[in-house]
């Protein structure tokens, strides 16, 4: 039957920290890459400020290709690249490059959609005032879209957390690794239950604080 003494709580704590580090670091790089990419997607789309059909189509294609690769496959395919970038494909560091490449395109699409939700009239008013494109982006679009962008970051953080756990399959660190090595391979169901429970709590917390932040910046 269930024997909680099999659970090494120090390991669980360590794994939780690793998961948080992987999620946090990859979230940082995902936003760093995905936000400008999303803005560029938005601006180059049809009838937008920098409408550039060619640029839009190429960006869109790359994003779609990356998004259609199952994350587990991406993890494996990325191993040589990861080795080049961080020197190892294992552990916390080894998980970050595939996490970023896996979620940045997803986040870019979310950003594009959030920006599209802004009333065209507002952009037009800025143009009518004589604002330059960069002024419209930084002075109007991003502040207007802030609540939506924060919601997109929250969704992305949760996706990253679940992907980070998946990276345990190829030797990434964190709760996923713990669940696979002990919970799955050693049949210690207790460890599996605990890791899943910790993940549930973390996701709840992320969503809660994400929602609070969104609400705080909503002016509608």
């Amino acid at each position: 039957m269930i024997n909680w003494s099999l659970v090494d709580w120090a390991d669980v704590w360590q794994a939780t920290l690793e998961t948080l580090v992987m999620t946090g670091a990859s979230l940082f790089f995902t936003v760093l890459i995905g936000l400008p990419l999303g803005i560029l997607l938005f601006l180059t789309a049809r009838r937008q400020l920098l409408a550039q059909r060619g640029v839009y189509l190429v960006l869109s294609l790359v994003i779609n290709v990356l998004r259609s690769v199952p994350f587990l496959i991406l993890l494996i395919v990325m191993i040589p690249v990861t080795l080049l970038m961080v020197g190892t494909s294992l552990g916390v560091e080894g998980a970050i490059p595939p996490l970023v490449i896996g979620t940045a395109p997803f986040f870019a699409r979310l950003v594009e959609n959030v920006l599209r939700e802004i009333d065209r009239g507002v952009i037009e008013a800025c143009q009518a005032m004589g604002a330059k494109t960069y002024q419209i982006v930084f002075g109007a679009l991003l502040p207007e879209a802030l609540p939506g962008l924060l919601a997109a970051v929250t969704i992305t953080a949760i996706t990253l957390m679940s992907y980070a756990s998946m990276s345990g399959v190829i030797g990434g660190g964190g709760l996923g690794d713990l669940a696979i090595r002990f919970g799955y391979q050693r049949f210690q169901t207790e460890v599996m239950v605990v890791t899943v429970a910790v993940l549930v709590v973390l996701v709840q917390l992320l969503q809660f604080f994400g929602d609070r932040l969104v609400l705080h910046f909503t002016r509608k």
Binding site: D119, G121, V122, E124, A125, C126, Q127, A128, M129, G130, A131, K132, Q135, G139, A140, P143, E144, L146, F217, R219, K220
Partner: protein
């Protein structure tokens, strides 16, 4: 509050208000491509708008009025033709020139288009900020002046969502005036407002036009708005301008069928169809007075001088902007000679008369 408003006036460059065309539009065409089909939005538009006037463009939805006003700051690029603003052909401007032009031309919108994430003050500050010409202190002072001008002094730190529609449009007006424009474009600025708020916004626009000598171009589908604040009007229908002139002229003597319908729909003049013309044995005449004679006892003079009997059947005495006008439907009874003398008096007083069949 009042002293603040005066301050604004002193600040304003005094270079305008003389009568010279601010806008000259020549042979303007615009065609869109929608699903590989050409759609004509504007056909050979020629217009001249003088400095300091309130110029209205009226038409039904889809007539092209929205496209026309949006070409004036190149939110819409014309397919061909020229638009001269203060002597410069804006269709030839490069992007730097265009940004400068747009900073000099204010625009307000039907749905206000305020930035929801910024406070009222920050919304008005934003056009000042993007010019890069003012220090934060100068900008702050200007924002306070503008808020006073539109009567929103106490709403400085509110967000647009906390304001009523009329207040939002006032913020829109303050924002549009921030960079001392010579020209204000109003794109259906009151169409989303209730009648009372519409009147207050129109009064504000008229006030600004008078105090600052600002030229205003507005588009609308309501004759009532044209009548309230415009000096001249252009009627646009099916991508063409079909009639242009002083509001009183166009209003009282509409020439084109579209104009006649617009005037009829505005219900300013009572519907004469209700009259049973056959019941009257005398001559039915429609009289139109424009200007000061509207308020003079002319019919009494004529009646006394000619012995003719004048019966007023229907009538309207009102104003078009500042011009008083009257339109009366009268029945004349008397001898041939009396009637001839009555008409001679009408001509002498310059009263337009039209004998109804």
């Amino acid at each position: 509050m009042r002293s603040r408003a005066i301050l604004v006036l002193l600040d304003w460059p005094s270079s305008y208000s003389c009568s010279r065309p601010v806008i000259r539009i020549e042979h303007l065409h615009k065609t869109y491509q929608v699903a590989n089909r050409d759609i004509t939005a504007l056909t050979d538009i020629n217009l001249q708008i003088e400095a300091g006037e309130v110029f209205g463009i009226i038409g039904r939805s889809g007539a092209g009025k929205s496209t026309l006003i949006r070409t004036l700051n190149l939110l819409e690029r014309p397919s061909s033709g020229s638009i001269f603003i203060e002597g410069e052909d804006i269709t030839q401007f490069d992007s730097a020139g265009l940004h400068k032009l747009r900073q000099r031309v204010g625009m307000i919108f039907q749905h206000f288009n305020l930035l929801n994430a910024k406070t009222v003050a920050a919304n008005i500050d934003w056009p000042l900020k993007i010019t890069g010409k003012y220090t934060p202190a100068q900008r702050q002072e200007r924002v306070i002046e503008l808020l006073a001008l539109v009567g929103l002094g106490e709403h400085h730190d509110k967000y647009p969502s906390q304001l009523s529609g009329g207040q939002k449009q006032r913020v829109g007006i303050a924002r549009a005036l921030a960079n001392y424009p010579h020209l204000l474009l109003c794109d259906e600025a009151t169409s989303a407002l209730d009648p009372e708020t519409t009147q207050s916004i129109l009064r504000l626009l008229l006030d600004i036009n008078r105090k600052l000598g600002l030229t205003i171009v507005l588009i609308t589908h309501e004759m009532q708005i044209i009548r309230t604040i415009c000096d001249r009007v252009a009627v646009i229908d099916d991508a063409r301008i079909v009639e242009t002139g002083k509001v009183a002229d166009v209003f009282l003597h509409p020439q084109h069928a579209v104009t006649q319908r617009l005037v009829a729909e505005s219900h300013i003049f009572d519907n004469e169809a209700g009259l049973q013309v056959a019941n009257f044995r005398g001559k039915l005449v429609r009289l139109t007075f424009v200007g000061d004679i509207t308020y003079q006892p002319i019919l009494s003079h004529i009646a006394a001088a000619t012995q003719a009997l004048i019966t007023i059947l229907q009538g309207t005495i009102s104003r078009i902007k500042d011009t008083p006008y009257g339109q009366l439907l009268v029945e004349l009874n008397g001898s041939e000679e009396d009637l001839r003398r009555v008409f001679a008096h009408f001509d002498q007083y310059q009263i337009r008369h039209e004998v109804l069949p």
